[in-house]
């Protein structure tokens, strides 16, 4: 039979006679293909109920960051609202360790300060540091990784060894040492988490760039001579950015936990600061207050819960973005592999 192969010829099956496909019949696959990254993320966030709750919580907390206390920039009040019911540092607005009530929804602390006001205002530290650190770290990491991946060779080798050194410290331990050296405080903490934090982005972007470089870009660059630097930053980086976005979203949570951990170790903020970890540090003795004593649980449960809710929300959002940007993952395989 095989000998006959190729001997049969068919004429008359004229493809040109088929009209342009009708959009309605072809369904909406094409829309998905051209959907922008942002749209995909938004759609995924809406579809994923966990992520939707996460977005809601994060928005609430960002609201708390902005409106809990007035914000002044260079002496000018840019945000006059004050949502916290009590001054966060005022002592004796209630009794010592008053349980949660209408007047004090989260109870009061050891100096009779209002826990609700403190916990609400505390979102400022964690949330803003989380975002700022991630912003700076990812920018630095992208630049570093791009340069390293682009130049390659010895430069790459040296830059990667630097990365290895950073990776040899667990993030928290490097941050711990940095805070021990430079002291606690807002910008010190930002620095303490940026310094170990950028490395992961650098490694990610470098890996992506190497991948892309293996493609036509290398040929193009070679053919075009020196003009390829702009190619790297204009074309390669934007294409390689998807994992960076996912990493950034997920690492905000890591930073927030790290900041709170240093606060808890007494290395982050000055005592009395309404930062969640610092509050926990100050109130942890309430866990064991001797025989027949009531557990003043609100003093430790609420600050910890806030950290948890915020980080959980960010992780749920990150998960959803990951799903949206990573086409291989979790997509239904149409036709079951046929």
């Amino acid at each position: 039979m095989s000998t006959q192969r190729g001997r049969i010829q068919i004429t008359g099956f004229d493809a040109d006679r088929v009209e342009q496909p009708d959009e309605a019949i072809w369904g909406d696959d094409e829309d998905t293909a051209v959907m922008s990254r942002r749209q995909r993320i938004i759609q995924q966030l809406i579809r994923d109920r966990f992520a939707l709750v996460g977005v809601f919580c994060v928005l609430l907390m960002i609201g708390a960051v902005i409106f809990s206390r007035p914000i002044t920039v260079a002496g000018i009040v840019v945000q006059p609202f004050e949502l916290v019911p009590y001054d966060v540092t005022a002592t004796g607005v209630g009794d010592r360790y008053e349980p949660p009530s209408l007047a004090h929804p989260m109870g009061t602390d050891r100096l009779g300060r209002d826990m609700f006001s403190r916990v609400l205002a505390g979102s400022y530290y964690s949330v803003t540091i989380g975002f700022i650190v991630t912003g700076i770290a990812s920018t630095v990491g992208i630049i570093f990784g791009s340069i390293s991946g682009y130049f390659g060779g010895t430069v790459d080798e040296i830059m990667m060894r630097i990365l290895d050194v950073v990776f040899a410290f667990p993030g928290l331990i490097l941050a711990l040492l940095l805070v021990a050296v430079f002291g606690g405080g807002y910008w010190q903490l930002v620095a303490a988490f940026v310094l170990p934090g950028w490395a992961i982005y650098a490694r990610l972007i470098r890996g992506e760039i190497l991948k892309v470089k293996q493609n036509e870009y290398v040929l193009a660059a070679k053919a075009l001579g020196a003009r390829d630097r702009s190619v790297v930053f204009k074309h390669i980086v934007p294409n390689a950015i998807a994992p960076v976005i996912v990493q950034a979203t997920l690492s905000i949570g890591t930073v927030v936990i790290g900041v709170a951990a240093l606060g808890f170790l007494g290395l982050g903020f000055t005592p009395g600061t309404p930062e969640w970890g610092t509050i926990l540090d100050a109130e942890q003795d309430t866990l064991m207050s001797g025989p027949d004593a009531d557990w003043n649980w609100w003093a430790t449960v609420f600050p910890g819960l806030m950290i948890f809710i915020f980080v959980m929300s960010m992780n749920m959002i990150g998960d959803a973005i990951n799903d949206a940007l990573d086409a291989q993952v979790d997509n239904i395989n149409h036709g079951g592999g046929g």
């Binding site: 002592t91 010592r96 050891r110 009779g112 009395g272 540090d281 003795d285 309430t286 025989p291």
Partner: protein, 687 residues
Amino acid sequence: MSGNIDETSARIDRRRMLQGMAVAGAATVAGCLGGDDDGDDTDDPADDEDVADIEDALERNEVDFDEIVEGGRLEFAIPRDDISDYDAAQSTAAEDTTVLATVYDGLITQNTEGEVELWMAEEYEVDASNDVGPEDYEPYMEEYEVVEVDGGFPAYDLGEDNLALIVHPEDLADVQEGDMVRMITREEAGDAVEGGVFGTRVEGRLREGIMFHNGTELTAGDLVGSYDRFVGSDNQGQVFDSFLHATAPDGDDGYTFELYSQEADAQAFLQLPPIEIFPEEHHDVPAGELDPRDDEDMIPIGTGPYQIEEVEEADTLLLTKFDDYWVEEHGVDSLEWFDGPESYPDGPVIDEINIRFVPESAQRAAALEDGDIDIAYELQSDARNSFYDSDDFVVSGTPGTGFKFIQFPMMDTEEGGAFAEQEIRQAVSALVPRQTMVDIVEQGWGDPARVPFPLPAADLATTGEYEDLFDEDWAYPAEPDYELAEELIEESSLEAPIDVIIQTNADDEERADKMALLVDELNASGLFEAELETPAALGDWTSGELYTDEGAQNSSERNATATIGLASGFDPHGYAEAIHDPDNYNGCCNFFFPEGTFDDEFVDLLRSCRFGEDVSADEDLRRERYDELWPAITELGANTIVDYSLTTIAGNNEVNGLNAHPATQSLLSYALYAPIDEQIIYLDRDE
């Protein structure tokens, strides 16, 4: 981290804590403490019923000596994760001493009220005092070459066991490497003493037949040789700041000894003996190496009632009763001063002490509650209240020697400089809510400062009764005195409200809480606009900023006060000279008062309370001098003391007869056995 209790008091002068001036003086405890007279501010959380009435805790827990049960193992928790250093010569941590005080006995013993009786010394007294200065030693000085100058401080090559005691002041100016400097080292000290040049001489005689744990007998040679171990140790400065020389007139095997100080010092009696007395086999062991964790043969050996049985890094420290303890051998009746009942035992009755390392106060509370430990101290105030309220536990307290004070930067700078004015300093002092701080932050377990010294120091600090001084017009108010503050501000050249910054170290939550209360009070008065700052952890803050020359300048310009804590002893000088004397080197703890801050009259008065042939010889004269000093101190208002600590100890009800000692270092050894107060504990287990 709550393990970070009070770093200052962990680094105190141990000598002061262990020994004290022996003076009879009635000091009544009751009535001056407690939180009964709360303010009438209805919003004040101090009104809360939580604040404990601590009267019962201050009363002694008595035991019936006939019911004593011998034996048993005591589980005792210390607030650290391990012993810092088993070598008493090197150790600076208070908790180490708490444990080692059961291993090493002292020459004298001391009760909770500062009274002193002889212990291992059979005779011990100040014998002679001379007013001498460094120049008087000149004939005996030798020249030594400066081998290096580091940070302005010369270093010499003096060989082992030697150090410079007194350097000729003229040779120190602009000293360079290679210069020759005249000085008295330990080698020349003996010549000076022989030539009759010395400050105070203390003569004494050791009790015979006191055995070390290694079976050798304690002799004068052990006492004299023990000083060598402190050369080059972390405690070198503490031992040799006043000490000049020691001799054993009857030879090393004899029992008599003579101790000499560099200048006439009323403190000599306490300051001169070595902090611990080591047996001869340890005299050549370099400081820091007497540690069984590094070398299992290097076990601390003393003459105390307990010896170290088992040690494991960060896990185990087991002490067992020493069979040949001298008090048991001799009988407690052999102590001349002892007049207790015959049934009072001749030594501690508990067989073993298991030291548990529990750095977190919350965990100590939980472990005490669970019965895993029998005795704990430095509990968090709420927990202490619960134990106090419970029938299953006993909490004992006694006025302590720790204190917190606010120091004002007195430099008159162009910008700021508000605290250069006496009235402003006094106004802040008048507004300190001392009672509220104690009530809220300590939950009643403390003592608001009314005068610049605590009750345990009262014996030597005044001729009168301690609490009578509260009515003096120079005393500190317990509650904020708005009227007085307003008057003072009006008298000053400044207008209210005055911007001030209240600073304290960042690593002490309770201290920060107290200062937060002060800030609220200052703001509420309308006279000040105050802010709280906690710049850094204590060590970083003091060395990085406070103790620098710019520190005083900056703080003056910013109107920034500094609050730290200290623990002193039974001697009043720890509350006067220690925080005022401009000569206090290294700035502790008078970082804002360089030379020239105080007028000479004040400084002379300050020093005349301790130094000089007259006060060394006459305690009553010393008390009179202090009676003059205290009004001057509060009037000056350079420092204002906020509160005094209450030393507490908590145990379960299987421990009978538990009482606290003012010094945390003595908590364990005192509780176990202290004939001076007929103190003893025994275990009566349920099973």
